[in-house]
Amino acid sequence: MNQDSKNASKSEDSIISICGMHKWFGDFHVLKNINLEVSRGERIVICGPSGSGKSTLIRCINHLEEHQQGDIVVEGTELTEDLKNIDTIRSEVGMVFQQFNLFPHLTVLENVMLAPVWVRKLPRAEAEEQAMSYLERVKIPEQVSKYPGQLSGGQQQRVAIARSLCMNPRIMLFDEPTSALDPEMIKEVLDVMIELAESGMTMLVVTHEMGFATAVAHRVIFMDGGEIIEEQPPKEFFENPQHDRTKLFLSQILHH
């Protein structure tokens, strides 16, 4: 990989640093020269039109997708083919999916306890106690012995957040966490995310919830065609976008 760009711009408290990163799906150049520094405790909202590579970008950070060029360093660990590095990074990075992806054959409690028991090797009693405290935090404590298929979408997504938090991650990735939800459930999930933001978690959130972006994001990143087009604090981003494509995109999502 590209060695000389590696130490180019690493600030002191940088927790994720992506440098000159490219990715292809076959011949399709989906991510082009991505450079992104995220500092500890920073909250970033990523938006952009469908197919612009937002999901692919955050999935590269925990190696659900493999990048072909450039460097990704997470918490001082460089993402390479080395399986041990990948496992280390994955246990530090939580991810919440659009489709929740709870394990349907396990109860809510088992879903949440699974990774602490098997990956962190916590004793069951301790894992259960921790799971219950996180389920309380996302306001699901009464449903713990139900199966995911018996919960509403909003409840499932909150369980999914608790499941990730149980690994005590340093970074949380959210890929459109509310876009599979009915409107009245979006708020309950966003509330949990806002609370998480207040606790100081480093968050990368792909979302089109502009209210959420304004309220919690330090930076909004706009992507189009596999490139980062614009990067601004939310106020500037919404009030004074620089790029024409950003303006077009904002006019489309704000006025319909």
Partner: protein, 377 residues
């Protein structure tokens, strides 16, 4: 679901919780809706009743009331009937039961077979039964049972050795079927995972193996086992025929299981793999805890279907001269005492297979129900 419109006689938002409407069918209702709902349905019902009326009484007479249950040979059987062949001669089956059950297993050692049967029942019960105390130990017992059974049946280590050629009848059928079933499942799962592996060599080996085995009839494989395999083995190594047959039956079933399980693996949403990966589970952890439990659940009907198929296919061993229940029964038909009692024999064998296959099928249905967790996939 009613179409009538009820005028609203309550404040909006205060509708009381009502019990669901009573089911209006009952026995009469059931008969009406299921047997006489339309002229065609009525005609079919009447024809069926007439048909059953024609065959049931005489069948019942032949099978039960006119049948002879104890006699020393067929002549005595027939002497006890109103007319020869007027009823079934179950005395034939009763008189042959020991032979059918144990084959030629030496009489003084048959207690070992009985213990094996008993332990088999216990292993099946313990492994399949939910909510049984000490489930873990039952499962461990079920896992060692095949080896325990091999020791009990064939001896060694303090027990009188018994040649595998002494096995016959139901004992042989069960040995072939249970071995095939219990070893083909793990092997089939391994093959299915191998076929989806990212390592090209492993994947190629699994594909070639599966496609080769599936592309060859079982009988051919059994002939290979009985004749050709000795050419491939180092000279002088004697490799028991039964073991060769068991290996072939297992491999054959495993290839089918592998494809069924692969279907289940492909039926899983990719989000399940991603969620497991994102949590930091290793390949084996995610397969053991997340992927296989779900994939196997989807595959239960196919797996049980394969099991039932390979159970029934076990009778093919008679073609290479092994006397399973069918082979032994047919040989018994040539006994001058019981000449020509084929209907009794085949009814008995059909019943034997039907009862065990039906039990497997019911068990798989109840298992599917039990694993239902309100998730549509």
């Amino acid at each position: 679901m009613t179409k009538s419109f009820n005028p609203q006689s309550y404040e909006p938002g205060t509708h009381p919780d009502l019990p669901p409407p009573a089911i209006t069918t009952g026995l009469i209702g059931w008969i009406k809706t299921n047997l006489f709902s339309s002229p065609l349905n009525t005609a079919l019902t009447l024809i069926s009743i007439w048909f059953l009326w024609q065959i049931l009484p005489s069948s019942f007479h032949w099978l039960f009331t006119g049948a002879v249950w104890s006699a020393v040979d067929r002549k005595e059987c027939w002497a006890m009937m109103d007319a020869p062949r007027d009823g079934a001669c179950w005395a034939f089956i009763r008189g042959s039961l020991e032979l059918f059950l144990y084959g030629w297993y030496p009489e003084p050692e048959r207690w070992r077979v009985n213990i094996t049967f008993f332990l088999f029942g216990a292993a099946v019960f313990g492994a399949l039964r939910e909510n049984i105390p000490g489930k873990k130990y039952w499962l461990m017992f079920a896992a060692v049972f095949p080896f325990l059974a091999a020791w009990l049946l064939f001896g060694g280590f303090g027990l009188e050795p018994v040649a595998t050629s002494k096995l016959g009848g139901i004992l042989l059928t069960l040995v072939v079927a249970v071995t095939g079933i219990s070893f083909s499942l793990p092997l089939g799962i391994a093959l299915a995972l191998g076929r989806r592996s990212r390592l090209p060599v492993l994947r190629a080996i699994c594909v070639i193996f599966i496609e080769f085995i599936r592309g060859v009839p079982l009988i051919t494989l059994l002939f290979v086992a009985s004749t050709m395999l000795t050419y491939f083995l180092p000279p002088g190594s004697s490799f028991d025929l039964l073991i060769r047959v068991l290996i072939m039956v297992t491999l054959f079933a495993a290839a089918y299981i592998a494809e069924v399980v692969r279907g289940g693996l492909q039926g899983l949403a990719s989000g399940q793999y991603e969620a497991a990966d994102a949590l930091g589970l290793t390949y084996w952890q995610s397969h053991r805890l997340i992927i296989l439990p779900q994939a196997l659940k989807i595959s239960i009907p196919g797996i049980v279907n394969t099991f039932i198929g390979s159970y029934k296919d076990s009778v093919l061993v008679l073609i290479i001269g092994m006397m399973d229940i069918l082979g032994l029964g047919r040989a018994r038909l040539n006994d001058p005492d019981w000449l020509g009692l084929a209907p009794e024999l085949y009814i008995f064998i059909s019943l034997f297979f039907f009862v065990s296959c039906f039990a497997m099928s019911r068990y798989s249905l109840s298992l599917e129900k039990k694993l239902e967790t309100g998730h549509q996939s």
